[in-house]
């Protein structure tokens, strides 16, 4: 049972930065050590926390930009945040 659960979770976990438009999920964790992000890990994590990206928050990708589907407009609980996909890579969702 536990084995099965872990397996199903890992298959469904993904980075918010890779999620398609219309994706609805929950934030599992923030893993901010990503290459190419505009801020270092801790600073990026703080920034994301400030904008409401906390564990357990409900997220939905509402809109995306015309060029390379970037940036994205994400509904985080009851507010909408625009963020680049590069920074959204730090957000693990399921």
């Amino acid at each position: 049972m536990t084995v099965h659960q872990t397996a199903s979770e890992t298959t469904h976990e993904l980075r918010l930065g890779n999620a398609p438009r219309g994706f609805i999920g929950t934030i599992v964790a923030l893993q901010p050590d990503i290459a190419g992000a505009a801020e270092s890990g801790h600073e990026l994590e703080r920034h994301l926390l400030e904008m409401g990206f906390t564990e357990g928050a409900r997220v939905e990708i509402l809109h995306q930009g015309a060029i390379q589907r970037d940036p994205i407009a994400v509904r985080v609980d009851n507010i909408t945040i625009a963020v680049r996909r590069r920074e959204a890579m730090a957000v693990v969702v399921k």
């Binding site: 505009a38 600073e43 703080r46 509402l62 407009a73 009851n78 909408t80 945040i81 963020v83």
Partner: protein
């Protein structure tokens, strides 16, 4: 201890809140037009202070601190907010009371900020703003329970309603009457990650206990965004809005600008007729009146641009425009919000540079200010049309393209291209070590703009332009008049008087320097009064070539130039004006907006260098092609 100091001692209030919490409208409602806008010493951050009197007659100073989500102090703006709240900002009184504005429709992030503010020990009063909108949306808030849970007094307010504002003034009195001893600021340390998470959990818990949310979010915003943020429709709407704005700045402002400049021209002529001829008459007409006129003539454009910007900002559209343009601008190392200031610069760099205030990050803002003067402003158009109509044949090329129009288009493209290139170079070389601010931005719910608040905003901008830029521009005008008038022509001298002035002496001195560009001394002389505004160079060329009639004589000037200049010189002159550093007003505004002479000098020098190199290349190639 005595109650008599009610009227003598000033009470200091500071407004803190997240962006889009309605902080500015509340500030406007509390202070009306009693506002002072300045810069904090040494930084590009705007300091907005206002004053009001409480029902008990207490004098209150109100400081509108930059919006922030935390006391982290990530940008210079946020550092100001943090330092003032902690009482650590030199020259700024520590606030007796911090008013924390929370958008009642969107409490999650602000409640965390309130808990963070509470830790500073500074007395706090929470104002639940936009309470009416929240109620209409079905949000119900148990204000007393929230106040108890936060351990901070909470009041509700509707920024635009008189009653709410009166209530706030009354509460300020009550608070000031029994002010607690303050022990703020000393033990404060920035929050660690785990503390931040803990505070957010606590905030979420308080919201769960005291706020009832409606099941569905604001459907209007969702429905509007489905169109406005659509990859295709959204860009089309943005283009349409910009088109209207551009039209307004160009054509609505035009009659007013002409009226202003004609009135000042007429006033100058009147003075010239009434007063005896002489140096005093010349000073009044060409120095003072022309100088004041040249300041006021920008006012219609500035008012229109800020009207649009404040309207779009209040609607909540600015954040959407930044979202749509972020990738396009990001390619050149610019922030999404730089788009509107740069577009405004096509009309005139001055309102454009002032509009860069919408960019929060200091370096992004500086980059935008530095490249804004490269956008082809309307003052270059008279120069372009003069040279193009005199030298470029009105032929049709490739079957349907007008050659003159093509050259004009090319000049615009050259301006945009060089702006993007300069921005890229700045990011690459100057600020290589600098981590750009990540694009992370709240897209607020749409709201109807409050007209009174917008009117106050536009009024404040206009006043600031007149006070701050106006004085510098006026003194530059007078200096230029002085250079073009002294020493005076000797009695019975031949040729126009300007040929005997300091401007002519400088022009002759500069001639060898400009010779490689194909510029003769007349051009060098004309560039000096052209410092006043680029189009003045047209009239100045007329003056040095002794053509009567000023601006109206453009055709005659064109003919004279066509017979005296080679095509290579004309092309070189056009290339010069793509960059054309000489606009005293722009330089003055850059100095005022950046708060430093350094950036003004940097702008002048880099534009001068680009202009010189571009003209040199153009002239050399044109000459080699046999056009010299």
């Amino acid at each position: 201890m005595t109650s008599t100091d009610v009227t003598t001692e000033r009470f200091h209030l500071a407004l803190v809140g997240a962006p889009n919490s309605g902080k500015t409208s509340l500030f406007n409602a509390l202070t009306g037009s009693r506002q002072k806008v300045a810069n904090y010493a040494g930084v590009t951050v705007e300091r907005k202070a206002g004053a009001f009197v409480t029902p008990a007659g207490r004098q209150v100073t109100l400081l509108d601190l930059p919006g922030t989500y935390s006391l982290r102090g990530r940008s210079p703006d946020e550092e100001i907010t943090r330092d003032v709240v902690l009482g650590k900002r030199p020259g700024e009184a520590a606030p007796d009371l911090v008013l924390c504005i929370a958008d009642a429709t969107n409490l999650r992030l602000t409640l965390r900020l309130i808990l963070e503010l509470k830790r500073t020990g500074r007395p706090l009063l929470v104002v639940l703003n936009m309470f009416d909108i929240a109620q209409r949306r079905g949000v119900s808030i148990d204000v007393d329970a929230m106040s108890a849970a936060l351990g901070v007094p909470v009041i509700t307010s509707i920024a635009v309603k008189k009653a709410g504002v009166e209530e706030l003034r009354k509460r300020t009195d009550e608070f000031a009457a029994n002010m607690p001893a303050v022990t703020a600021g000393d033990g404060w340390t920035p929050l660690g990650l785990s503390e931040m998470k803990a505070l957010q959990r606590e905030a979420d818990r308080i919201i769960r206990d005291t706020v009832k949310m409606p099941s569905k979010p604001d459907t209007l915003t969702t429905r509007v965004d489905a169109v406005v943020l659509h990859p295709v429709a959204g860009l089309a709407i943005l283009a349409l809005i910009l088109f209207v704005m551009f039209q307004a700045v160009f054509s609505w402002a035009q009659p007013l600008m002409e009226l202003l400049s004609d009135s000042f021209g007429a006033l100058g002529t009147l003075v010239a007729q009434v007063l005896p001829e002489g140096i005093f008459q010349s000073f009044l007409q060409n120095g003072l009146i022309a100088g004041v006129g040249s300041v006021l003539v920008f006012l219609p454009q500035i008012i229109i641009i800020f009207l649009f910007i404040l309207l779009l900002e209040d609607f909540g559209y600015m954040a959407r425009a930044a979202f749509l343009m972020d990738r396009v601008m990001g390619g050149a190392g610019l922030h999404g919000r730089a788009f509107i200031p740069l577009l405004s610069s096509f009309a005139c760099a001055i309102p454009g540079i002032m509009a860069t205030r919408v960019i929060d990050n200091r370096r992004d803002r500086l980059t935008t200010i530095l490249i804004a003067p490269l956008m082809t402003c309307s003052a270059r158009i008279p120069v372009y049309t003069l040279i193009i109509s005199a030298f470029i044949p009105a032929e049709t090329v490739w079957g349907w393209v007008n050659l003159q129009g093509l050259v004009m288009f090319g000049l615009y493209v050259a301006g945009i291209g060089s702006a993007l290139a300069v921005s890229f170079v700045i990011k690459f070389f100057m600020w290589r070590d600098y981590q750009p601010a990540p694009f992370m931005l709240e897209l607020p719910d749409y709201k109807l703009p409050r007209l009174k608040s917008i009117a106050i905003g536009v009024y404040t901008r206009a006043k600031m332009f007149l006070q701050r830029a106006g004085t510098t521009i006026l003194s530059m005008m007078i200096l230029i008049w002085f250079l073009a008038s002294f020493p005076q022509a000797p009695a019975g001298a031949e040729g126009p008087a300007i040929n005997y002035s300091l401007a002519a002496i400088i022009g002759h001195a500069l001639e060898p320097f400009f010779a490689p560009l194909g510029f003769n001394w007349q051009i060098a002389v004309a560039l000096i009064p052209g410092m006043a505004a680029r189009e003045v160079a047209v009239g100045a060329l007329g003056t040095v070539y002794a053509i009567e009639g000023g601006k109206e004589a453009a055709d005659a000037i064109g003919q004279a130039l066509a017979s005296k200049w080679s095509l290579a010189t004309a092309l070189s002159f056009l290339a010069w004006f793509i960059f054309a550093p000489q606009c005293a007003s722009t330089l003055a505004v850059i100095r005022r907006e950046t708060g430093s002479t350094k950036w003004m000098v940097v702008t002048f020098l880099y534009m001068f260098a680009l202009a010189y190199v571009a003209s040199l290349i153009t002239y050399t190639i044109a000459k080699a092609a046999g056009l010299g």
